[in-house]
Amino acid sequence: MQTESVIPFLAMVVALVGAALIVLTRQNPNVREACSLAASVLQFLLVLTMVPAVLGGQTLHFTVLAFLPQVAIAFRVDALGLLFGITASFLWILTTIYSIGYMRQLREHSQTRYYAFFALVLAATVGVAFSANLITLYIFYELLTFLAYPLITHSGSSEALAAGKKYLSYQLGTSFIFLLPAVIVTYTLSGTFDFQPNGVFPATANATVLVVVYGFFLAGSAKAALMPFHAWLPAAMVAPTPVSALLHAVAVVNAGVFLILRVILDVFGVDLLRQLHLDVATTIVVSVTILLAGLNALRLDSLKGVLAYSTISQLAYMILGVVLLSPTGMIGGVLNLLNHAESKILLFFCVGSIYLATRKTKISELAGIGRQMPWTMAAFSIGALSIVGIPPTAGFITKWFLITGSIEADKFAIVFVLAISTLLSAAYYFRILRTAFFGSPLQGDDEAPHLAETSALPQRQVRDSPLIIGPILVCAGLSVILGIFPSFFIDLVQLALP
């Protein structure tokens, strides 16, 4: 059932207005940041108002601008878009609060630019989430690429500029070479840009062409960081930590996965995918990504680098779940968009908090941090347990659904992939936690003197600003709550699936 509604458009506009107000009030940081916060809260509330309608089985439509009869900038809110919209706009609130604490404490330069582009990125993200057709999705997807660039290169250092260059060349390269042609060929084959739940292609379409188009879509969504188009993500860790949160949890990588999910569900459709055996091909690609990313994370010493590879493997979980094409597996895949974002943003917030307090960025330097920052590291542990998939956390729900889905689809090899990936992630997160809690601050050595003695060492407990620890604790709480009460979002996800 379709309903006309201006709310999806407003959700984007509120971020644009927010960006404008941030620039206008740049003289007064307090007002500027209040504007940023107000915009994020307002956007979240607007997104929430659409929940009852979508849960009631409706889709909300709004046409902004129609160039040609078949080509329009238009919004359409369904369950899948709403899930992404809720995730992004809610995490924007937390990231804004966190940013205020983080950027002020570091006395970062160009904060107005930072907040303004942050708001613009969120406008584009909502555009991606609520786009009604491929052309709208493509436009906002590209806008997102450009708008995130000033954030990634925020520091202006040569390292940051190099990372920015890498980011842009991966994104633009793949989207011009692969994504744009795929979009155009889709239109010529089907005569429409609109998303349709069972796919848009006519039965007469040439199978080889369809396979190529699908491959181009997959390769064109470099934001999803599927191998071999993943290297921009670890490089982007030079950005300030709240920007890492934006990349890994709020908007950017999720937009890539979202694009792939849309293509699978509403451009190709599940039946066509199965018919062309594209599910198997995709499964192989994502399985390789999952395992290689896990192995890579094991050897890194950089904290953000490990988290980046962990993200790559988790993004592949989402796509894996959907291409299992079994009801339970698909729920697990889509649900991981939210569950992963929730837990990964927590981990990045903690890493930022460690950096603020100690300027440490390497795992080998973390010895003793568990005693200096007990709250932060306790929260980090919860995030890590969730990513590994230990109950009662959100990540466990994902893992359970994925394993059930793999067995349901009779793909036992996937169970092995998931088991190995679980062990790998347990190993690299355990390495961080062991150093943080049990490494000796003196030697960085694990088998230190007994705690009774080491705890007698002078230990400075670091007090975080409430703007930093507040979002961390909220995310830690949510990682557990989503693990114990996942049903609301599962219901939402089920509406998004055939």
């Binding site: 230990i390 109950p391 009662p392 359970w400 394993i403 067995i407 349901e408 049990f438 088998e447 049903s487």
Partner: protein
């Protein structure tokens, strides 16, 4: 098989199992709000005692002699995954809940002797562990069960890693967690296969034990699931050859943790609760394998234990042998064997743990539980020696102690099934007696060879409470085993019938 459920609301008026699970969690949080360490320790005792009291109230309200599932609570949880919040106990599980509460309380009492720093997190971890174990014994939904099963990992890791008494505690903690993770991965896959079998038969996923019992499992699939679940549980049981984490954990970990590891036979419980009723054909088909492993464990455990100079290592290997004996009982697949296994699990919860507590007291005094540091101890610590001996009698299954009914019934059951196996089991029982008496003689009797022994202090009041209570319990249960047998009997009989009839769909009834 007919399953009758009695709701908690009718039976006792409030969801007692939920309270038993969540009260310790709440208390763990509460403890951390208390500033003063001494107050916190006392509050922990109060919490532990309240939990035990509630568990006893539950047992007193339990209807004995029937196979009904009692104190049942059901609620929707994750309908999309076929997961429900389903709690309940029957004769197979009900007694393990007070046992868990009792052991936790005893461990807390002894923390004065052996935990000298960071007592609040120690006690909190114990409460979390307790909540998880009660959850394991009360869960009837396999998803819920698995959540509690995994919930054990974090507190266990911390307890071994932070308060361990050996130099290799970091290694021991990691080894324990790795073994458990490997085992639980097998469990996870097995559980999911059961759920999907239910989906293929009825159209909807379910992980509810009671629903799963109504759906037969095809023989080939039974074998697959049997191997996944049986070996998943065998790691925790610990069944030979998956046992090597036990000596490491007992040597390096704190005594309190060892007590919980050895005292609560979670792996054996898993076999009893889920594997045998859900996969009856596979259980009989592969009984020879399980019995074979059990026989090896009985002989191997006892022989290694016989030559151990260290009490904790001795108890580790002895308990590996005991787990083997319990598996012999379970896979005799008859009423006596199963009844005996349940009794043995309960007895070991009191006797092996009792000896472990004593090992802890010795360790706290001499810094060791090696024979070389002891010898003639009995003369200087007569109270400890007396209770060590009394509890030891239960450990070796002397008639008149709680150890006797279990061993006797297992031997009966085993003779019924296969007399050669029973003969090996008898050998195990004899070796078990020999190893205990040998250690007792060398440590507590004989001439004093070391000066340090002369200055040993006998049991302090809190330690005496632990020793006396355990001593009393092993004798009381030994002399009056009937109340306990009558509680377990109904469910044991139902399980034995199910094993005999095979996986005919069970009928679920809701009693009014």
């Amino acid at each position: 098989m007919i399953l009758t459920e009695v709701a908690a609301a009718q039976q006792i008026g409030f969801p007692i199992l939920s309270v038993l699970i969540f009260f310790p969690l709440a208390w763990a949080v509460l403890l951390n709000l208390i500033e003063d360490d001494r107050v916190a320790r006392r509050m922990a005792l109060v919490g532990g005692a309240l939990e035990l009291l509630l568990a006893i109230v539950m047992v007193l309200n339990f209807i004995p002699g029937v196979s009904d599932i009692q104190f049942v609570e059901r609620a929707e949880w994750i309908p999309a995954a076929g997961v429900g919040y389903h709690l309940g106990v029957d004769g197979l599980s009900v007694l393990f809940i007070p046992l868990s509460a009792f052991l936790t309380l005893m461990v807390m009492l002894t923390s004065w002797s052996n935990i000298h720093f960071r007592s609040k997190p120690y006690l909190s971890a114990l409460f979390v562990l307790q909540a998880a174990t009660v959850g394991i014994f009360a869960s009837l939904d396999l998803f819920l069960f698995f959540v509690f099963w995994e919930l054990i990992l974090v507190p266990s890791y911390l307890l071994i890693r932070l308060w361990g008494i050996g130099n290799q505690r970091g290694y021991a903690a990691l080894k324990y967690v790795m073994y458990m993770l490997a085992g639980s991965t097998l469990l996870l896959v097995g559980i999911v296969l059961l759920g999907i079998n239910h989906q293929n038969a009825t159209g909807s996923l379910s992980f509810d034990l009671v629903s799963l019992l109504t759906v037969p499992v095809a023989p080939e699939l039974q074998t697959v699931i049997f191997f996944l679940l049986a070996f998943g549980f065998a790691v925790k049981a610990p069944l030979f050859p998956f046992h090597t984490w036990v000596p490491t954990a007992l040597m390096e970990g704190p005594v309190g943790m060892s007590v919980m590891l050895v005292g609560l036979k979670l792996g054996l419980y898993g076999l009893l609760r889920f594997v045998m009723p859900l996969l009856p054909e596979a259980a009989s088909q592969w009984a020879w394998l399980m019995v074979g492993l059990g026989v090896i464990a009985v002989v191997y455990g006892a022989l290694i234990a016989l030559v151990q100079p260290n009490l904790r290592r001795l108890l580790a290997f002895a308990s590996i042998g005991h787990a083997g004996l319990a598996v012999l009982g379970l896979f005799a697949l008859n009423v006596q064997g199963i009844q005996g296994a349940v009794m043995l699990m309960l007895n070991l919860g009191l006797a092996t743990t009792g000896l472990l507590f004593m090992a802890g007291f010795l360790h706290a005094r001499t810094g060791s539980s090696e024979l070389t540091a002891l010898g003639g101890v009995g003369r200087h610590v007569p109270l400890m020696a007396t209770f060590f001996f009394i509890i030891g009698l239960a450990f070796i299954g002397v008639p008149g102690t709680s150890g006797f009914p279990g061993e006797f019934l297992i031997l009966l059951g085993a003779f019924d099934a296969n007399w050669t196996v029973a003969a090996v089991a008898v050998l195990g029982v004899i070796l078990n007696a020999a190893l205990f008496l040998r250690y007792f003689e060398r440590a507590f009797l004989g001439p004093v060879t070391r000066d340090a022994v002369r200055k040993l202090q006998d049991l302090r009041p809190r330690e005496a409470i632990v020793a006396v209570t355990l001593g009393f319990l092993v004798l009381a249960i030994g002399i009056f085993p009937n109340p306990i047998l009558s509680i377990t009997q109904g469910s044991v009989q139902a399980l034995a019938e199910r094993l005999e009839q095979g996986s005919m769909p069970a009928v679920v009834q809701h009693a009014d």
